[in-house]
C-alpha cells in the first residue's frame, strides 16, 4: 500500500530531521457526512497553517465507523502519520455491533468539536417544559413517541438516560428511529410524533422560524442560540455531548504521541481552525490528552450501562 510505503519513508525522514509531517486522515464514513467533513476541514487547515505539507483523506465507510476503525487499528500500528476521525456515535456503534475493535485499540488524541442534543416539540404542542413531557411519559410511556436518529445512536441513548434519570423503565420508551437526512425533523414538524430529539443545530433554524420549541439541551451548560434549560438544571442527571475527535495509530511511542498531540494542539489553536469552526457552525469543545482520555473512559462506561438498560446490548 502506498501509504504504508510513504509512512515508512517518512518515519525514517522524521527520525533524522524534524520537518512538517505528512498525514493521512481516515474518515470512517462515506463522503458527505459529518466525519468526512471533519476530516476534510482538518486537511485544509493543516495544510493552510503549515502544520503538514501534505494531507490525504481516506474514506472507509461502514457500520457506524467500526469498519474503518478495525481497518485502521489493524494496519497502522506504530505509524505516527496515520490519523482517524471519530466520534461519540462510534462509542455506541462499537457496543451495539459487538465490534471486536474498540477505541482502546487506537490512541485518542483530542476532542475537536461537539454538539448538544436537543429535545423539541412543534410550536403547537401543549407541552411547555421538559417536566411536562416527563410527566406524560410517567403516565404512559408508550403514548410519548420520540422521533430521532438511528437506533442505539446518541439521540436514542439520551432518551434512555433521561427516562432512567426520571425513574421510568428505559425499555418502555417508544423511540422511533428515522434514517439520517432530517426525516425525523420532518416527522416532528408534521406533528407525526410527540417529541423529537436531534442535534441542536438541526432545530435552531426551526426555532428561529417559530415552528418549533426546544424543551431542553443535553449538555452540562446551556447552548448558544437557545435559552432552553439543560437537563441537569431541570433535575435530570444527564450530560451528553455528541462530539467528534481525532485519534492516532495504536502502538505509538511517547515521543510520537507527543508530536501528534503538539500538531493537533497547534491546529486547534490556529486562526484557520477557529474560522473554519465558525463557518461550519461547529462549537469548539477542544479537550486533549489525558483529560480527554479520562472523559472518554467515563462516557464509555455510562454508554455501556444505558445500552444494556435499553436492551440493545446484552
Amino acid at each position: 500500500m502506498k501509504h504504508a510505503i510513504l509512512g515508512a519513508a517518512f518515519a525514517v525522514a522524521t527520525a533524522t530531521a524534524a520537518f512538517a509531517e505528512n498525514y493521512v486522515i481516515m474518515a470512517p464514513a462515506a463522503p458527505g457526512g459529518g466525519w468526512d467533513a471533519t476530516a476534510r476541514t482538518l486537511q485544509e487547515v493543516m495544510v493552510a497553517e503549515g502544520i503538514s505539507g501534505n494531507v490525504q483523506v481516506q474514506n472507509v465507510p461502514g457500520a457506524g465507523g467500526t469498519v474503518g476503525l478495525a481497518q485502521f487499528a489493524a494496519s497502522t500500528s506504530g505509524d505516527a502519520t496515520q490519523l482517524i476521525v471519530g466520534g461519540y456515535v462510534m462509542v455506541g456503534a462499537i457496543l451495539t455491533n459487538a465490534s471486536p475493535v474498540s477505541l482502546a485499540d487506537v490512541t485518542p488524541i483530542a476532542r475537536l468539536t461537539g454538539e448538544a442534543v436537543a429535545i423539541a416539540v412543534p410550536t403547537a404542542s401543549e407541552l411547555q417544559t421538559i417536566n411536562d413531557l416527563v410527566e406524560m411519559m410517567k403516565a404512559d410511556p408508550g403514548a410519548v413517541s420520540w422521533a430521532g436518529g438511528s437506533a442505539g445512536g446518541v439521540d436514542h441513548i439520551t432518551v434512555g438516560l433521561l427516562a432512567k434519570a426520571a425513574g421510568i423503565d428505559p425499555t418502555k420508551i417508544n423511540y422511533v428511529a428515522f434514517s439520517g437526512g432530517g426525516e425525523a425533523l420532518a416527522a416532528i414538524l408534521g406533528n407525526q410524533v410527540t417529541a423529537g430529539i436531534s442535534g441542536v443545530g438541526e432545530f435552531l433554524p426551526q426555532v428561529e422560524a417559530g415552528s418549533m420549541r426546544i424543551l431542553a439541551v443535553s449538555t452540562d451548560t446551556r447552548w448558544p442560540g437557545t435559552d432552553a434549560p439543560t437537563l441537569m438544571e431541570s433535575g435530570y442527571d444527564v450530560n451528553v455531548q455528541n462530539w467528534r475527535m481525532i485519534a492516532a495509530a495504536p502502538g505509538l511511542s511517547d515521543e510520537q504521541k507527543a508530536a501528534v498531540l503538539a500538531d493537533i494542539d497547534t491546529l486547534a489553536k490556529s486562526a484557520g481552525w477557529k474560522s473554519a469552526l465558525e463557518t461550519k457552525n461547529w462549537a469548539d469543545t477542544y479537550l486533549a490528552g489525558a483529560d480527554f482520555e479520562a472523559q472518554l473512559a467515563k462516557e464509555i462506561e455510562a454508554t455501556t450501562a444505558i445500552l444494556k438498560d435499553i436492551g440493545l446490548v446484552q
Binding site: 500500500m1 502506498k2 501509504h3 510505503i5 510513504l6 490525504q56 483523506v57 481516506q58 474514506n59 408508550g142 413517541s145 417508544n174 436492551g311
Partner: protein, 162 residues
C-alpha cells in the same frame, strides 16, 4: 434485460437448479430470522418479520418455478461460451487480490486486458500496457486532481509521488 431467446435445448434442469437456489435463499432468510430476538416493541412487528415474509415468499416462488419446470417453459437459452466468463471473472478476482499490492493502475490494467481478451483481443502485449496506461491516467485525474482516494502502488508512488 428479459431473456433473449435463441436456439438451444430446453433447460428443464436449470429450472430445478433455480428453484433449489431460491428455496435455499428463502431458507437462509428464515434461519437467520429465527436467530433474531424479535423485539417488536410498540409496533408489534420486529426485525424478524420482514425476513420471514420474504423467506416464505421465496419458497413459494421456488415451488412455482419447480412446478413450472415440468411444463418445460422457463427460457430458451442461447449457446454460452464459458471462456469469456472465466476471463472476466478471473480478471476481477485478480484486480481485487492485487489492488492493494500493486496499486490501482496495474490491477485495473489486468482487468482491462482480461476483459479485452474475453471479447477476442488476446494480445496481452498490446492490451495490458494500454489498460495500465489508461488506468494510470485515471488515477492521476481522480486521485491527484479530484482527490478521490484510490489505492496506489509502487508505480503511482514513483510517478505521482503518492
Amino acid at each position: 434485460m428479459t431473456g433473449q431467446s435463441g436456439t438451444g435445448r430446453r433447460p428443464d434442469g436449470a429450472a430445478f437448479i433455480i428453484a433449489a437456489l431460491l428455496a435455499g435463499f428463502g431458507a437462509v432468510l428464515l434461519w437467520d430470522a429465527s436467530t433474531i430476538p424479535d423485539r417488536g416493541g410498540y409496533a408489534g412487528i420486529g426485525p424478524a418479520a420482514m425476513p420471514k415474509v420474504v423467506g416464505w415468499g421465496l419458497i413459494v416462488l421456488a415451488a412455482a418455478t419447480f412446478l413450472g419446470a415440468f411444463r418445460g417453459r422457463l427460457a430458451d437459452v442461447p449457446r454460452q461460451n464459458p471462456v469469456p466468463l472465466i476471463l472476466i471473472g478471473g480478471g476481477l478476482v485478480l484486480q481485487i487480490a492485487l489492488l492493494n499490492v500493486v496499486g490501482f493502475s496495474l490491477a485495473t490494467g489486468i482487468l482491462f486486458a482480461a476483459t479485452a481478451a474475453a471479447f477476442g483481443k488476446r494480445n496481452l502485449l498490446v492490451t495490458l500496457p494500454i489498460g495500465t496506461a489508461l488506468a494510470f491516467g485515471l488515477y492521476g485525474l481522480f486521485d491527484g486532481i479530484l482527490r478521490l482516494n484510490l489505492p496506489g502502488g509502487l508505480l503511482e508512488t514513483l510517478i505521482y509521488g503518492g
